[in-house]
Symmetry: C2
Subunit: 420 residues, 2 copies
C-alpha cells in the first residue's frame, strides 16, 4: 500500500470517528460552529488572500486560461461573500431529527421516520476555492462529516480556508476531523476516495465538469450523487404570450450562459412560429446569442445558422441556441425525451391544460411553467445554498441543499409487543 493510500485510509477512519460526534451534537452546537467558521474566515482574510495569490501566480505560470484564473481568484469582496455564505448556512433550519412521518399500527407500535445525517461525504471538486467553505458548511448543517478534495490549482487557497474552518469547528467543540481536506495534489488520492476507504465513505459527490463526473461514475465503489449536464429546453406553445416568451427565453439562455440551468434548445409550435420567432430571435441576437435553426425556423429567420444533428444533444454553456419548430405538445415532449438530459425544461403558454400535460409528461428533475429555466438553483428554491443540481433519480433529484444531504431512520416504540 502506498503512503498516499495509507494516509487516505487514516483520513477515512478519522472521518468515521468524527461522524458520531457531529451526528449526536445538538443543533445549536452545529449552528455555533458555522458561525465560528464564518468568523474565522473573516479574521483569516490576509492569510487566505496570500495563499490565493500563490495559487494565482502558479496558475499564470502554468498558462491557465483567464476564465479559469478568474474562477480561482479571491478578492477581499469575494472572500467576504464566502464567509457570509457560511454565516447564512448557520441560519438555515436544522434538517436533523425531524419527524418526517409518524403512525401507529393496529398492534399499538408507534413508528416514526426521523431524519438523520448520511454520514461521511467525500466531495471532489475543481478549482473553485469557495467550494471548500460552501460544501463544508452544508455538510455541517446536515450533521455530516466532509472529506474535501479540491483541484490542485486551488490547493493553497483551500488549505488556508480549511484551516480557518477547523478553527471554527474546534472553537465550538466539534472535532477538527469533521472537515478534512486532502492536502496532496496527487491523483492517487482521488482513486483512494473512489474505493470508499474501507467503508468509511457513505457518499461521493463530484462537483465539476463532465470528465470528472464520468470518471467518478465509472470507478466509484460507493454511491455517487452526480450532477450531469443540463441540455435544457424552453418550449413556446401556440398560446404563449409573445412578450413573456421573449423575456423568458432571453433570460433562460442569456442571463448566464455558463450555468447548468441555461436553456440550450428552443422549441416553438408551428402554429405560432411565424409570429413568435421573429420577436424572440431579435431580442436574443441583440443580447449576443447565435441561433442555429432547423429548416422551418430558418425559413422564418433566414439569417441564422443551420443546426446540425449534434446541436440537439449539445450543452453549449455558451451564447448559442438551437431552434426547432414542432407540430405541438406531443412533438415537443418527444424531442425532449430523445435529446434532454433530465435537468430542467420549461413551457411558456397561457393554456393551463396544456401546461399541466407538459409538467406531467416531461420527466426531468425540474419542470417549469411560464418562468426561466435559470431558476434551477438551490438558492432560488429557498434552500439557502446547494452542493449542485442532481440529475440522479435516486435519493435527491434537483437542487441539493442541506435537507437533501440527510437520510432517515425508523424509531419504533412499543410496550413489549412481540411478532406473532
Amino acid at each position: 500500500m502506498s503512503a498516499i493510500e495509507t494516509d487516505m485510509l487514516d483520513m477515512g477512519r478519522r472521518a468515521r470517528a468524527a461522524a458520531a460526534a457531529v451526528r449526536t451534537a445538538a443543533p445549536e452546537v452545529r449552528t455555533a460552529a458555522l458561525g465560528a467558521c464564518a468568523a474565522a474566515l473573516s479574521r483569516s482574510t490576509s492569510a487566505i488572500l496570500a495563499a490565493n495569490g500563490r495559487d494565482v501566480a502558479a496558475a499564470r505560470a502554468n498558462g491557465l486560461s483567464e476564465a479559469l484564473i478568474d474562477r480561482l481568484t479571491l478578492t477581499p469582496e469575494r472572500l467576504a461573500g464566502v464567509a457570509d455564505a457560511v454565516a447564512e448556512v448557520a441560519h438555515l433550519p436544522d434538517p436533523l431529527d425531524r419527524e418526517l412521518a409518524r403512525w401507529t399500527r393496529p398492534n399499538g407500535l408507534d413508528i416514526a421516520r426521523v431524519s438523520t445525517p448520511i454520514g461521511v461525504l467525500a466531495i471532489i471538486y475543481e478549482s473553485r476555492p469557495n467550494v471548500t467553505a460552501d460544501a463544508a458548511a452544508l455538510c455541517l448543517r446536515s450533521g455530516n462529516v466532509a472529506i474535501l478534495r479540491c483541484g490542485s490549482d486551488c490547493l493553497q487557497s483551500s488549505l488556508a480556508i480549511h484551516a480557518a474552518m477547523v478553527e471554527g469547528l474546534v472553537e465550538a467543540g466539534l472535532p477538527a476531523d469533521a472537515v478534512q481536506l486532502v492536502a496532496t495534489p496527487d491523483r492517487a488520492a482521488v482513486g483512494a476516495l473512489l474505493t470508499g476507504l474501507e467503508g468509511n465513505i457513505d457518499l461521493l459527490i463530484p462537483r465539476g465538469g463532465k470528465s470528472l463526473v464520468a470518471r467518478v461514475q465509472a470507478e466509484a465503489r460507493v454511491p455517487v450523487l452526480s450532477h450531469l449536464e443540463g441540455i435544457n429546453h424552453t418550449y413556446l406553445h401556440a398560446a404563449a404570450d409573445a412578450d413573456m416568451a421573449r423575456d423568458v427565453v432571453v433570460n433562460a439562455k442569456m442571463r448566464r450562459v455558463s450555468v447548468c440551468g441555461a436553456t440550450e434548445t428552443l422549441l416553438v409550435d408551428r402554429a405560432a412560429a411565424a409570429s413568435l420567432l421573429p420577436i424572440v430571435a431579435e431580442a436574443l441576437i441583440q443580447a449576443g446569442c447565435t441561433l442555429r435553426g432547423d429548416a422551418e425556423s430558418r425559413a422564418i429567420l433566414p439569417g441564422i445558422e443551420e443546426a446540425e444533428a449534434a446541436d440537439w444533444s449539445t450543452e453549449y454553456l455558451a451564447a448559442f441556441l438551437s431552434v426547432r419548430v414542432v407540430e405541438g405538445l406531443e412533438e415537443a415532449i418527444d424531442h425532449i425525451r430523445r435529446h434532454g438530459s433530465g435537468h430542467t425544461e420549461a413551457i411558456v403558454t397561457g393554456d393551463a391544460e396544456v401546461a399541466a400535460a407538459f409538467l406531467n409528461a416531461v420527466d426531468s428533475a425540474i419542470v417549469v411553467w411560464n418562468a426561466s429555466t435559470q431558476f434551477a438553483d438551490g438558492g432560488e428554491f429557498g434552500f439557502g445554498g446547494e452542493i449542485g443540481i442532481s440529475t440522479s433519480r435516486l435519493h435527491a433529484r434537483g437542487p441539493v441543499g442541506a435537507e437533501q444531504l440527510t437520510s432517515y431512520k425508523y424509531v419504533v416504540r412499543g410496550v413489549g409487543q412481540i411478532r406473532p
Copy 2:
C-alpha cells in the same frame, strides 16, 4: 457482442420505452392491472404448478438441500397466497403524483415537489418463485418498469408466473414490456444487467444472500439498493421488566431464526444480569436456542457455550445467540457501533430517558424500544409488502415498499418570472 448481450440490450430498450407508458398511466389503470395480474395468476394455477413441478424435480436431481427445495416449492395454497399478495398491492394507496411539499417564493414562483417513479428497476433474486410476482407488483404500484432475473432453479416457475402477470398487464392496457423476465439461466445476463444496459436501468436491487449482494455491489455500474446482513442486537437495560425482557428476546431470536430482523446478540446490563439472564436464558434454551456467552454471562449461566471473537460479528440466521454483559448504555451503544450492521437494534427498559438516549445514539435503519426486532418488516410497518430491508443510507433505508420505490421532481409554476 454476444447474443445474450444483444438480447439484454434489447430488453433494456424495451423497458425504457414501456416506462413512459407506465409512468403516465392513470393510477386506476395500474390498480386494474394489478387486479388483472392477480386474477391471471389464479386462473393459471395448473400451468404454474406444472412448471414448478419441473423445477422441483430438477432441483432434486441436482441434489439441492431440502431447505432450498422447500423454498422453491409451490403448492395450491402458496400460489393462492402469491395471487392474494398481488391483489393486496392493488389496494395500496398509489404513491405517485403526491405533493410532498409545496411553497411559494418571494418572487411568486410556486414550487412543488411531486413523487414520480424511479424508472426501470432490475431485480436480481434467488430461487423464490413468489418474488417474481411480489417484486413485479410493487414495481407496478410505484409506476416503475421491472426487469426480473431469477435464480436458475426457479426459472420454469418464474416463466409461468411471468406469463400470467403479462396477461394481466395487457388486459389492463399496459405494455407487456412493463414486466420482463430474463429467460436464460446464463450468468452473462447478470453481468449485462450490472452494466446498466446503456443507461436503461435506473436501479439495481439484489435480493438474496451475501455473495449475490457482494457481487452486485462490486460490479454494478448503476445505483444499487442493497439489503446487507442483519447483525441485530437486543439490549436489556437494568430497568427492563423481566417478563417483557424474556418474551421480547425469545420472539426476537426464535420466532423465525432465518429472517434478517432476527436478533443475533443479546446485551445485558451488569447491574441486572444476575436477575434477568437466568429467566431469559431458560426460555431461550427451552425454545431450542444455543447460547454463546462472554465470561461474565457464563459465570451466571455456567452451562452455555463460550463466545469467540467472531461470534460478535456473525449473522447466524440459526438458533444461536451470542450473549454479553455490558457496564451500561454507553458500552451497549459502543458494542453495537463496532459489531452491528446498521439494520435493527432494540432496547428493553422501563426508563424513558435511557430509551430516548439509545434511540438517538444508535445509528441503525430501525431502532426499537420495548418490542421485538422481528418487526423489521415492510408488512409490519404497514407498507403492504416490501422488496427488502435496505441497509443503504441513500434513498431508502429500512423496509422498502412501493413508496420507497419512488423518486420526485420539482414542478415550478410562474407568471413569466425571469431570474435577475
